[in-house]
Symmetry: C2
Subunit: 716 residues, 2 copies
């Protein structure tokens, strides 16, 4: 339905002015926002929405709608104005509530909040990178069904700014899009030569077009204010096959504003009452009423919405055809569109939990294969670490250019783009996506993980090599603060299974969680499968933390996670022999446990019973569980390059050492007098920097380390 409503140049100009002035009035009323870019992009947005974009405002969730992604989210008033005109459930009242508490028109677009907003943008580069994931998911759905009936044929249109293209995440994503030859991806680059600091050439003088050609994109260059050129470029872009397309549109920020056009002043603040007046006069627009939408302009979008409705109906017929055809395809389509997960998933996964001792990354890999069999929506890949993260779906090929039928995606060494890509797939239809890498590299993709959490996306992030025990790769690769740094992101769950059974629990937790992302933390090294007590009900794992090994009227509770649970159980045996009665609590997902009702939490962690926490990472937040004077056995310093068993011994994390540290703590002794003496050494300094926690939790081991790998003082 690219049929072109050929409107008169006068009417088009009036429509463009309408969009521009809605943005200007919205920003002015909010006394906050970005007017210049919506003004500059109005003409482009108009052509996209009225000549190409296929949408049905009455059903924003229509799976085969074309997508529009405003990667420069700060220009949000452009998007809100377009969605309002297009007929989405975004009444004028909302445009007047721009940037106000409780409105659906926040400063930057949030996809969970506003109908028609496809993905959350604002942090630059995230939009265009997510768009690569969205375009891919459309292709992946199409590859499964279009031969029977063309049910997934949508295109992704978008606009990116200088900032979007300067960000590394967009560079990673653009390279991947070129590699996958995503010809359903069409982006405009708003080349306005202006940034917050002034002219872009203060810092940006590369040849963007040539760079995108190097990525394998088709590149056009146009005047972004010449409707004819915009139309021609779009017509070529939508027809040309085999490559993603970039249209470099030279624009003028704040166009029409006599005093602010082409200046940074038009970027991030209202034009100001006087300048608004001058601007409206300059373009011949009535000063009153504000938020004016001429009827003939409304009519254009009404007509477009009707075309969209027709396309939507035609699509429904194709879906009927698919369903009537019946068989596997029809069943698969239904399951995909529901992102169906079997009720008894946990039960099914527990059955395949390997009985042998192995790394939790290996257990997870085995269980993931079963998940893939039971949940056809599961797709994903790694950032070039398949042999390490064990996430490759075995009975399916990888997605390659032109062949999107596979369930595996080779993201390349591009963690940040992987995160945004996964979010894009999660915000589309049909799939539950995962991305995998080492836990340390969650730092490379943190901005995307946060957007998944903010936007309630079911994005799965599978992180392996989850502690210093990855060993010889050393401190640059050994996570110590990452577990807690992730747990602190609102609405993100971190699951750190201790053995095969808990890997089943972890996957069941993540697949059951529809309104937010889950991050897995899995070991590189082998861990023991821990025997459960008689009558153990696997469902208890879904409560986040539970009693794994108990004692009658416990005198001490050790809370441990992941690879440390095995150690806690061994330490329990030693301490029980002392006459203690130790309970070991495995905390698979602390966020979930904190969501449980108080009675369950008190049942697992009885008030008044002494607690110790064991996790080989930073200790401070765990003090919440044991109190400021309590004992957290962890590691408040960077790791060291050595075999994992050596690290366990050197840092004092063997069952014997752990039991001894607990004994000493109970006896009220300090375990780290050493650390004080060594305050010369940087390592010791760091160990003290974690005081008081560190003093009790790892002083001695850190001091030992300071003897070992004490960093040389720098020249300074």
């Amino acid at each position: 339905m690219n049929k072109q409503a050929n409107h008169s140049p006068e009417l088009v100009e009036k429509a463009v002015h309408t969009i521009q002035m809605l943005a200007v009035d919205g920003v002015e009323k909010a006394k906050s926002g970005h007017p210049g870019t919506p003004m500059a992009l109005a003409g482009i947005a108009f052509e996209i929405f009225t000549r190409h974009l296929r949408y049905d405002p009455l059903d924003p969730a229509w799976p085969d709608r074309d997508r529009f992604i405003l990667s420069c989210g700060h220009a949000s008033m452009l998007l809100y104005s377009m969605l309002h005109l297009a007929g989405y459930d975004l009444p004028m009242e909302q445009l007047k509530q721009f940037r106000q508490f409780g409105s659906r028109t926040p400063g930057h677009p949030e996809s969970h909040l506003t109908p028609g907003v496809e993905t959350t943008t604002g942090p630059l580069g995230q939009g265009i990178a997510a768009a690569v994931g969205i375009a891919s998911s459309i292709r992946m759905l199409g590859a499964r069904f279009n031969q029977v009936a063309p049910v997934s044929t949508a295109r992704v249109f978008g606009i990116a700014s200088d900032g979007d293209l300067m960000e590394g995440v967009s560079a990673e994503a653009a390279s991947l899009a070129g590699h996958l030859k995503l010809d359903n991806l069409i982006f405009f680059y708003d080349d306005n030569k202006i940034t917050i600091d002034g002219k872009t050439d203060l810092a940006f003088s590369e040849d963007v077009g040539r760079r995108y050609e190097a990525y394998g994109w088709h590149v056009q260059r146009i005047d972004g204010h010449n409707q004819e050129q915009i139309r021609e470029a779009l017509d070529e872009a939508v027809t040309l096959e085999g490559r993603p397309k970039l249209i470099i549109a030279r624009t003028h920020i704040g166009i029409g504003s006599p005093n602010k056009q082409d200046t940074a002043k038009a970027h991030g603040e209202p034009l100001g009452e006087e300048e608004v007046k001058l601007t409206k006069q300059a373009i011949g627009w009535p000063l009153e009423p504000t938020f004016l939408v001429p009827d003939e302009v409304r009519a254009i979008f009404k007509q477009r919405a009707e075309q969209g409705k027709l396309a939507h109906d035609a699509w429904k017929k194709e879906v009927d055809k698919l369903q009537k055809a019946g068989g596997e395809k029809a069943a698969l389509y239904e399951r995909l569109m529901k992102r169906a997960v079997p009720e008894n998933l946990l039960e099914e996964l527990v059955k395949v939990a390997p009985a042998k001792d192995a790394a939790t990354r290996a257990h997870s890999g085995v269980i993931e294969q079963r998940v893939a069999a039971l949940v056809p929506s599961l797709v994903g890949g790694s950032a070039d670490l398949n042999p390490s993260t064990k996430t490759y779906i075995e009975d399916s090929p990888a997605v390659v250019a032109g062949k999107f039928g596979g369930r595996n995606i080779h993201f390349g060494i591009r963690e940040h783009a992987m995160g945004a890509f996964v979010n894009g797939v999660a915000s589309s239809d049909g799939f539950i996506p995962f991305g995998s890498t080492f836990l340390i590299f969650s730092d490379y993709m943190r901005a995307s993980i946060r957007i998944a959490a903010l936007t309630h996306l079911q994005s799965l992030f599978v992180f392996t090599h989850d502690s210093i025990y990855l060993g010889e790769d050393g401190p640059t690769h050994q996570p110590v603060e990452q577990l807690w740094a992730l747990r602190l992101i609102p609405n993100l769950d971190v699951v750190r299974p201790c053995d095969a059974l808990e890997c089943a629990g972890a996957w069941a937790h993540a697949l059951g969680r529809k309104d937010g992302p889950t991050a897995f933390a899995l070991t590189r090294q082998k861990v023991a499968n821990i025997p459960r007590e008689e009558g153990f009900d696997p469902k208890v794992m879904l409560r986040g933390a539970y009693t794994l090994a108990d004692a009658k009227e416990p005198t001490l509770v050790i809370v441990a996670t992941g690879s440390e649970v095995e150690v806690a159980v061994a330490a329990k045996k030693i301490l029980d022999a002392d006459g203690q009665r130790v309970r070991v609590v495995s905390a698979l997902c602390w966020e979930q446990f904190r969501r449980e009702d108080e009675s369950y939490r008190d049942e697992v962690l009885p008030k008044g019973v002494q607690r110790v926490v064991l996790e080989v990472g930073v200790t401070y937040p765990w003090l919440a569980v044991v109190g400021e004077q309590g004992l957290v056995i962890g590691h408040d310093d960077f790791g060291s390059s050595a075999p994992d068993k050596v690290l366990q011994k050197e840092f004092g994390f063997t069952p014997e050492a752990v039991a001894e540290r607990i004994r000493k703590h109970i006896a009220g002794e300090r375990t780290a007098p050493v650390a004080k003496k060594k305050s010369e050494s940087a390592a010791a300094k760091k160990s003290e920097s974690a005081a008081p926690a560190a003093k009790k939790s790892e002083g001695a081991s850190a001091a030992k380390k300071s003897e070992g790998a004490a960093p040389k003082k720098r020249k300074s």
Copy 2:
């Protein structure tokens, strides 16, 4: 000193084999590591070290040494082998201790640990991005003195892998390097067509050379195993001016290994005893002894070291000339090389602390100007946010291509490259660098911040817009977990000043901290300057936390940070009126406070006196201070787009609301029954997800929010 020792092809081959086999033997002995890449790059490294690299192994800190950066840090055995042969203090014993506890040869190179290692690499892309900072700092030093005497003329040579060039951080940095026309930057791209998953074309099919040309780099393409081609390419690269240079070297990973060459198996694991044997036989190398270095090969490097010594001596003469010339230049040079900071810096900064109420970003900007006047080493810039972060050094121009005399750097919208660039400058000589952006975007550069902390670099990260109070930009830009996520990074200090005076304290803290990075958290919104009590000694601010407003025999201590201190002081007045005796403790730098001795900590936070913490961010780690049942008034959910005063009211952070929440807590009441009822709403769910902390800390406000901006449920 690019004079070419013309060695016979046979001798060169023997030297290359020596390097290759040292790496092979080192990995084999460690039973862990990456042999294939060192084997492939040995020929290139040999030509760099013996024909161009200017170094004096007896003084690894010689400021004008050429730098060698191995961006693909996993090939560390190549670097260690080269440093050993070059004569650095890295004896054979250390090569035999590769990847063992306490050695100077960890899995990935760490610059604070090993002489001759210029920057810490391993996390891909960090090395080449830091190299851009190093090359710039050499130019910046040269621009200040070379006209008097050429004291800063060094070049930066390096090698990057596929992974380095796929990472966004390297794309950002390469674009910036091209923009700055850094012709003292010469990198090889190890184009071996192999990654962990297999062939690079699984995910990487772009035209790298063309991309770098688009960035403005000079690009050559060679056979990486043809010494003649390597020499010619290097000769051209070192002579060509006006552009950074990329030499794309087609190599064969694991070259010489009969069964593993050109396979992923040569990448990340030892060749194995049998394959080592076959390889040594294939290249005609004795099986015994291992770690063999023929005398004639040692002789080559001995000769090179002597040339280096001569160059070093010649440089010393230039420095003498500079010093003899005397005057400002000589004085400046001395201060820069010492990175001199006045003893009385705090005193000086306190003098200029503005008396008027303003945003701490504004106060910080004023104080930074004074720092710049007193500390000539201070240089830096922002990621295109100068008008917002207020960090531009006013009396100095910006660095531009060909003109490096300025102290300001326009990083562009490239936070990650900015972080790595800052680290590069900090690991060079002369400068104390800062990079600034919004606190939320610390997520974009977290991997670089971590390397600064691990490597003990004095990198300064100035983050503004440090809470939900940035207001209308909304949740995508409002940090809530970032403060604690940063505090958890070992050896990173976070300073969050409450007013002008504490901004002086923050800068004094950061400038005084030579062995690690400091992150500033500054407000966008105006805050009040808080009157200090009689006889207040500013030095107390350097202890991290101190009593700001006191009461006789306090019954309650409120610990607050940054913009919340003003609110705590106002709440104190209300509660004092109730008959409470409230002390307010301002926690400018919690990490520092935890390093203070116990007696000071007990003096500020007396045992047995009830505590409350107030910080508008995630609450959980603060429970360490107040105990699991204690009260932390914070925000465990994403923010909302609205003016800051509205958010303060809606979320219950006004002095009155805070006082009321404290009253209720003291009365032992629960403040958030509401939140439970609303468990349907995602917002409320999230507010519960922070339970128990949340229930007490922000339930009511979150519930209020859930009425306001309750996110629509997704289709799923």
